[in-house]
């Protein structure tokens, strides 16, 4: 009897195995997959498509800014007669493009796309786990993200157009349908999309935290984690603590819009009518929004910095300089990011004394950021640098992170912020420090981990062309933009020639647009390389970059469970590159310490 039971059990087990290996249906393998690698690929491909759409939007409004009133066939071609009559961009559509470009880039690409792709790919791989703690929640996280992306784009297909109050959607503008077309159905879609996005982000974030804390393999202590994992871990904590606050902000806005409440509305006369609402304050929304909004920029940049740390170390063939200081900086940045939000609000009517507190905390955050930059530069010093496209993108990130970080000093200083608040100076600053930097970090990650994502290599030379095209145009676009801001040009102006003051700045706008188009063309090279290499790129060997981390100890196949046999055991930190006395210039984490050898960067 007992024998029989055992047999049945074994048979069932066999069937189960077989099901896993051979009979997984197309739907469960590629669509509703619970495998972290597939989910990572889904996030990446969705994000690449969304990024391309958002970039196209930016080219359209850049055309308007450089040559206002000029007719462009492409504007009519894409937007039709309603929003691009005769090839001239409609002012309402201009606002909508700016808004949706910002929302997609900040949330869909650099939050969902960046964390979704690389946290999913690298957390299980680099900590030595078979998958995420909950594959099911992970799958839901992607599908909520997908739905949210679709609904965000759906705004372009409703009669009144998408949301157009800027990506921060400040009420009362966003709360009152009378205020602009973009505050009608498009705004509702924006709020629905964002709510779904927050759910996706929370499901993902909780999963990342639990996985990092509980599923590390034997020997993988917290101080042996690669900096990528530290960055993803702190990022996930930031997301879990701050996104619910955005959700509450969105919920109250939905109430104000649809149910006649007055959380954000007070004493308003619009459309020939005095509204009933009184006693609310838009400042409340600003506080709630930026309580997410500021940690959000670190949610964007920390994963990019994490990827960069790994890529710079591997390709400089040197340990990352100051490993523990890097962890300390990530934690310090994460902590401080929660007490700086009101630096977006110095001149919004918040008490000036409160402003001074935030000046102090904001400038404090420059210290760990500076430490990180110095550590990257020192890692390059006396290295043996291999210029893969990924390495170039990582070096590019360090450069833009420094440039953008430095102009942050101006904006953090409340006195100086008075003059450039909401001007193009702000646009230039945040695009360089978090937009360009994070995109460069993400692209570095794509080139570096492409063999783990698609088992193949991307084309190196197209990668070089892509890097230089992107990097040169990034500075070409955003460096001159600072001058527009210092000259007092406000952001979100449809046109700068309505009055004489800015007429002599038109050259700057033309220069910026030319570089923007060049940058967009460079991304076409990437798009081609990405999809072509996915299917036709040369197959990769197991550890093409000579890396120490665990993901390169798995076979080059989409094995469910990652390691065919037992999980690997970890004996050392991940940065033993060019260690004296070793045969090769890298020592994988799975190699035991020899007698007398110290771990973690000790000599």
């Amino acid at each position: 009897m007992s024998m029989n039971n055992h047999d049945q059990h074994a048979q069932a087990h066999n069937l189960h195995e077989e099901h896993h290996d051979h009979e997984e249906s197309f739907v469960s393998k590629y669509i509703f997959s619970m495998d972290h690698k597939t989910i990572s690929r889904q996030f990446l491909i969705t994000a690449v498509i969304m990024a391309f759409l958002a970039m196209m939007m930016s080219v359209l409004f850049r055309l308007q800014l450089a040559w206002p009133g000029e007719k462009f066939a492409i504007i009519n071609f894409i937007l039709g007669d309603k929003w691009g009559k005769d090839g001239i961009l409609d002012p309402g559509m201009y606002m909508a493009l700016v808004t949706i470009h910002g929302t997609i880039m900040v949330f869909m690409v650099l939050t969902g796309g960046l964390s979704g792709t690389f946290s999913n790919l690298l957390i299980p791989y680099q900590i030595g786990a078979r998958d995420m703690a909950s594959g099911f929640l992970n799958m839901l996280s992607y599908w909520f993200f997908f739905l949210s992306s679709v609904i965000m784009m759906a705004g372009f297909f409703v009669e009144t157009g998408p949301a157009s109050g800027g990506w921060t959607v400040y009420p009362p503008l966003s709360a009152l349908p009378q205020a602009m077309d973009g505050s009608k159905l498009g705004m509702t879609l924006w709020l629905v999309s964002m709510s779904l996005f927050i759910i996706s982000s929370l499901l993902g974030g909780l999963n990342y935290i639990v996985t990092v804390l509980n599923l590390r393999t034997k020997g993988m202590s917290m101080t042996r984690l690669p900096l990528t994992i530290w960055a993803f871990f702190i990022t996930a904590i930031l997301g879990v603590l701050s996104f619910p606050v955005l959700f509450s902000a969105a919920l109250l806005l939905i109430f104000d819009r649809s149910f006649g409440t007055s959380f954000y509305l007070s004493d308003i006369y619009i459309g020939g009518q005095a509204l009933e609402q009184t006693g609310g304050s838009p400042i409340l929304y600003l506080h709630l929004f930026w309580f997410l909004g500021h940690p959000e920029v670190y949610i964007i940049i920390l994963p990019a910095l994490g990827l960069t740390s790994e890529i710079i170390s591997v390709n400089a063939r040197k340990p990352i300089f100051g490993y523990r200081a890097m962890i300390g900086s990530i934690i310090a940045i994460g902590f401080l990011s929660f007490i700086v939000w009101a630096h977006h609000m110095y001149i919004t009517g918040m008490n000036p004394f409160l402003g001074s507190v935030f000046v102090f905390t904001t400038l404090l955050i420059a210290i760990p950021s500076a430490v990180k930059a110095f550590n990257y530069i020192t890692t390059l010093w006396k290295g043996n640098i291999r210029f893969t496209p990924a390495m170039l993108f990582a070096i590019g990130l360090v450069s833009t992170f420094i440039s953008g970080g430095l102009t942050g000093i101006i904006l953090a200083d409340s006195t100086l912020d008075i003059h450039v608040h909401d001007t193009y100076f702000v646009v230039a600053h945040f695009h360089i420090v978090m937009g360009v930097s994070a995109i460069l970090g993400m692209l570095a990650g794509v080139y570096h981990w492409f063999p783990k994502l698609f088992l193949r290599h991307m084309n190196k030379k197209l990668g070089y062309i892509h890097f230089w095209g992107t990097f040169i145009s990034a500075y070409g676009v955003f460096f001159p933009m600072h001058f527009l801001g210092l000259a007092g040009v406000p952001r979100r102006y449809y046109n700068n020639t309505a009055f004489p003051m800015f007429d002599n700045l038109v050259d700057i706008n033309v220069l910026i647009t030319i570089f923007a188009i060049l940058g967009a063309l460079s991304q076409v090279v990437f798009l081609f390389n990405f999809f072509y290499s996915m299917f036709r790129g040369p197959k990769s060997e197991q550890n093409p970059w000579g890396s120490n981390t665990l993901e390169w100890t798995t076979p080059m196949a989409n094995t469910h469970g990652n390691w065919p046999g037992a999980l690997p055991t970890v004996y050392r930190w991940p940065y033993d590159y060019s260690k004296p006395g070793k045969e090769k210039d890298f020592v994988p984490q799975t190699v035991p310490l020899v007698d007398g050898e110290t771990d973690g960067g000790g000599h």
């Binding site: 066939a73 002012p91 606002m95 800027g166 400040y170 503008l173 205020a179 077309d181 007070s266 006369y269 609310g280 400042i283 400089a316 340990p319 490993y323 919004t348 009517g349 000046v359 102090f360 404090l364 430490v371 930059a373 990257y376 020192t378 010093w381 006396k382 290295g383 210029f387 893969t388 070096i395 420094i402 000093i409 101006i410 409340s414 100086l416 084309n459 030379k461 197209l462 230089w468 990097f471 500075y475 460096f479 001159p480 001058f483 210092l486 406000p490 979100r492 102006y493 449809y494 046109n495 020639t497 309505a498 004489p500 003051m501 002599n504 076409v524 081609f528 040369p538 590159y577 060019s578």
Partner: protein, 347 residues
Amino acid sequence: MIKFLVYVAIILTIVAIGYLARVFELASKLKGTKPHEVSDKDNKFMSKVILTWLIVFFTFVIWNLKKFVPLMLPEAASEHGVEMDWLYNFNWAIIFFVFTITQALLFFFAYKYYGRKGNVATYFPHNNKIEMIWTVIPAIVLSVIIILGLKQWNKITAPASDDAIVIQLYAKQFDWTARYAGKDNQLGESNYKLITDVNALGMDSADSKGFDDIIVKNEIHIPLNKEISFKLNSRDVIHSAYFPHFRSQMNCVPGMTTVIHFKPIITTAQMREKPEVKRQMAGINARRAERGDKPAEFDYILLCNKICGNSHYNMQMTVVVDTEEDYKKWLASKKPFFDKSIEVASK
């Protein structure tokens, strides 16, 4: 036809890149190298590109400064603005110093230490002493920046003096209205529920403080060397009152009153005579002539600097700084709002 050509062009571009990729791959196959592997030759070539970039980058920065700095705003026209500009320059000096050193080191190291087969990188995992130095030095520099900034911030945001001239700036989609407090220098009560076509600010006719209030549109005049205290309100969405020439800005928030104050130190007429301004206006008028627009004269301006709707880009008002004499003359020519409306009603 155009659509068709666009499609063809897109497809041809993709095909062209595809062939390019194939050529790269076949060429590397012929040479017997793996296409993704970075050879010593690649490293050396890329290091030279990086050095070139470093030079091009700094040249571009200097070219930008040379070309665009002359287009920046003329000297500050307010008392606090002069000190703010000094603070800007102080910060810029620090920023450019750090920028030059870090960017130069970053790209120079990348150039110098390009990889060569057989070379081994120096194992240099950490050094507490230098890490301490580059934590402490930024901390000290930032403290100086914070102290200087906050000193100025406290001065700018301190309450306006009692004898400051009170002007309300009232924002709505998409224009500005100014209300001068009149002889008593006190604004009368107003309520958004009293707004009508005629009484656009919702002024309360029961409050005697408002009887001498003067309402002005399109252009405001303010006197030289007198502190002006602005009370900011909005009737619909958030706007922002931005005076770029006076280095002053504050949001106008529906449901509450925000305040700013500054003291203008250069009249419009004086500013028009400054060589810097004359040169800039020549540039502006050259552009306008190209477009067929009338030549413009220099004016101070008040802009809306918070997204407020489709016509946000053209929500502005001219600001004129007069000598005190001219200001008084101008103000005397304006009638209080209620006097005007009584006149209209009696007609």
